[in-house]
């Protein structure tokens, strides 16, 4: 049976966001792309278990997240994937607008426990509701909320962001960030 065109389109449409999620989990672009590839292979091999009319994106995120978790556990037994390697990866990433701020943010994010990091990214960047994020991570809604809260608090500490305006981004950065925001 040929792949349904709407399935193909829905899968492809989810790829950019899956990559962004995978990079935030693994901290490594190449590894993230391998994760996405494995996710697509698994998804299409099990496409019959996808319920039409439900959220394709959430289904794919669940597959990716579970695959990452099992890979991560395996790798941790094999090699110690410490902060040094992560820092190397960060250095090799191209510098773009707001580089310093973004790099510092990535570094801070990488220091969070992975369950807090994934919760924060799913809710704060991927645009999932707390309930969807809870389904993806296989935990209670309250657990997701508490992880997101702890993640924010820890990030604010790591980035030394306080409740004042004096260390805010300059006007240029603000404009870039604002212009980058979704309508």
């Amino acid at each position: 049976m040929a792949m349904d065109e709407s399935v193909r389109d829905a899968v492809l449409a989810a790829v950019p966001s899956l990559r962004a999620f995978a990079i935030s989990l693994s901290g490594n672009v190449d590894r993230a792309d391998d994760l996405v590839q494995e996710t697509l292979l698994r998804a299409l091999a099990n496409i019959d278990s996808f319920q039409p009319g439900t959220n394709m994106s959430a289904w794919l995120f669940t597959i990716l997240r579970n695959h990452f978790r099992s890979e991560y556990r395996k790798r941790r037994r094999e090699v110690e994937d410490g902060e040094g390697r992560y820092a190397e990866t960060l250095k090799s990433q191209p510098e773009q607008y707001g580089q310093v701020e973004l790099r510092e943010f990535r570094e801070a994010l990488s220091k969070l426990p992975s369950d807090q990091r994934e919760a924060l990214v799913l809710v704060g960047a991927s645009g999932f509701s707390y309930e969807e994020a809870a389904n993806i991570c296989g935990c209670a809604v309250g657990t997701i909320k508490s992880r997101v809260n702890r993640a924010r608090t820890r990030l604010a500490e790591l980035l030394d962001i306080h409740n004042t305006e004096d260390i805010g981004p300059d006007d240029t950065t603000r404009a870039v960030l604002a212009g980058h925001d979704h309508p």
Binding site: A2, V15, F105, S146, H180
Partner: protein, 74 residues
């Protein structure tokens, strides 16, 4: 995928049942201002990748899988 919520916005998921479920002591409350800045930076980082679109390897992968399936079913 649902719409992004602005950070610090009132939470529609907040119900009596979720409110009472507190695994740990609540961390100090961050101001809306701080939450908004963290949210901006998080999305800037994420959207930086999203804006790269779909790399060719994934389009090619799906084309290949599709061709294989067609062959299987003849």
């Amino acid at each position: 995928m649902s719409e992004r919520k602005s950070w610090g916005a009132d939470d529609p998921m907040e119900t009596a049942s979720t409110r009472t479920r507190k695994p740990q002591a609540k961390p100090a409350k961050l101001s809306r201002d701080v939450q908004a800045r963290l949210g901006q930076q998080l999305r800037a980082m994420y959207d930086d990748v999203v804006s790269q679109g779909v790399p060719d390897r994934f389009t090619e992968l799906l084309n290949r899988l599709e061709a294989d399936k067609d062959k299987d079913s003849r």
